[in-house]
Amino acid sequence: MIAQSFDYESPGTIAEAISLLQKYGDEAKILSGGHSLIPMMKLRFARPGYVIDINNIPGLSYIKEEDGYLKIGALTRESEIEHSGLLKSKYPIFGDVSKLIADPSVRNMGTIGGNLAHGDAANDHPAAMLALRAEIVATGEGDQQRVIPIDEFFQGFFATALKPDEILTEIRIPIPPEGSGGAYHKLERKVGDYATAGVAVQLMLDYGVCTYIGIGLTNVSALPLRASRSEEILLGKTLTDDLINESAQYASEDCSPSTDLRGSEEYKRAMVKELLIRMVHRAMDRAVAE
């Protein structure tokens, strides 16, 4: 399958990339890992006239803690996330997510920035970002940075809050206090499949009381979904099995999955419930082990 013809640009700076975006407007697409964009171009679902490859812009790939935030550069590859010592030791939820994204060769190319900017509710990072209450840093004209809270980022089917002349440059996560833990799991039919359903949980325990909770769901609604009722019922409480069950029940009611080859609506709701229970327990174990 061959993509429609396009012109290729590979700017060396963000400023140059932004001016190209301004020049070409709607006709331009950023290329990061290309592992969502290129398949769509080959199928001609996407037909950009200009592809702006940002891989030659230095300084967009890093994982570091700074100023109270965990900061991840937009061009950081999934394989770097999967094998990062810092993430493994302090933020194992990232390993949970990356390991389940496609396969090792796809992960050598795919980037976290692209995964979020694609705005696909089937992708796995969005749910974890909701759970962690991440902030998206968008860079625009004159190197101006705009910080977008994750709850405002996903706006529709493949649509995000990024402006046409902005580039997603960084993901920021407030460093969770001690006693925090997170976990993600998705049910997939085979390696490389998108989620039948996925649940991300990040929580904090203070003498057994839940003082922070974030829950995000993958591929069970049009947009990546925050399970708000499920969060509210857990916050400030001691997490008993009954309470966790009730929280999971809410999520299974509040999502809106559709029946497809991956399963029926009913099955997906049941899986959201079960995964939520399991992820709360795994996050609690990790919060205690920290």
């Binding site: 399958m1 013809s5 290129i38 080959k42």
Partner: protein, 162 residues
């Protein structure tokens, strides 16, 4: 649409070619460089038959444009044997019956190359996860896993048995 001049190293040899930006890397490899050991199976990023190394990392060359390899180094299955001597992975696949039709084999081997470079002593589970993006319609994978273990042992200088 303007063509681009790109320079890349393929199996050690430098090439300068002029390409349409939409040319896929796998088509450059097969049709311009005439390295037809790299196969196209699914053409949809799933099967791994087109796997090559780009600067030492395994990638699915049906899901990159050739222009993305500008200034980089690629290794294909043709680049593994040295001085008429099979690479330990090639030898392992041969000795352990790691292939039947052979369609998936170049991709399997290139993927396994990176796997062993990162992890010279993988467990069976690590091998299975490691090749999880490469599909084989023939072997049932068991002998592929054995072939990778054979190569790992050989590369560590240990005695090998098929």
């Amino acid at each position: 649409m303007s063509k681009k001049s790109i320079t890349l190293k393929a199996n050690g040899a430098e090439h300068n070619v002029i390409v349409e930006p939409r040319l896929l890397l796998v088509h450059l490899i097969r049709e311009v460089l005439n390295l037809t050991g790299t196969h196209i199976g699914c053409d949809t990023s799933n099967c791994g038959a087109c796997t090559i190394l780009l600067n030492g990392k395994s990638v699915k060359s049906c899901t990159l444009f050739a222009v993305q390899a500008n200034g980089k180094e690629i290794t294909t299955i043709e680049g593994l044997a040295q001085g008429g001597q099979l690479h330990p992975l090639q030898e392992g696949f041969k000795e352990c019956h790691g292939l039947q039709c052979g369609f998936c084999t170049p991709g399997m081997i290139m993927r396994s190359c990176e796997l062993l470079a990162n992890n010279p002593d993988p467990t069976e589970e690590e091998i299975r996860w490691g090749i999880s993006g490469n599909l084989c319609r023939c072997t049932g994978y068991n002998n592929i896993v054995k072939a990778v273990q054979y190569a790992a042992n050989k590369m560590k200088g240990e005695a090998v048995t098929a």
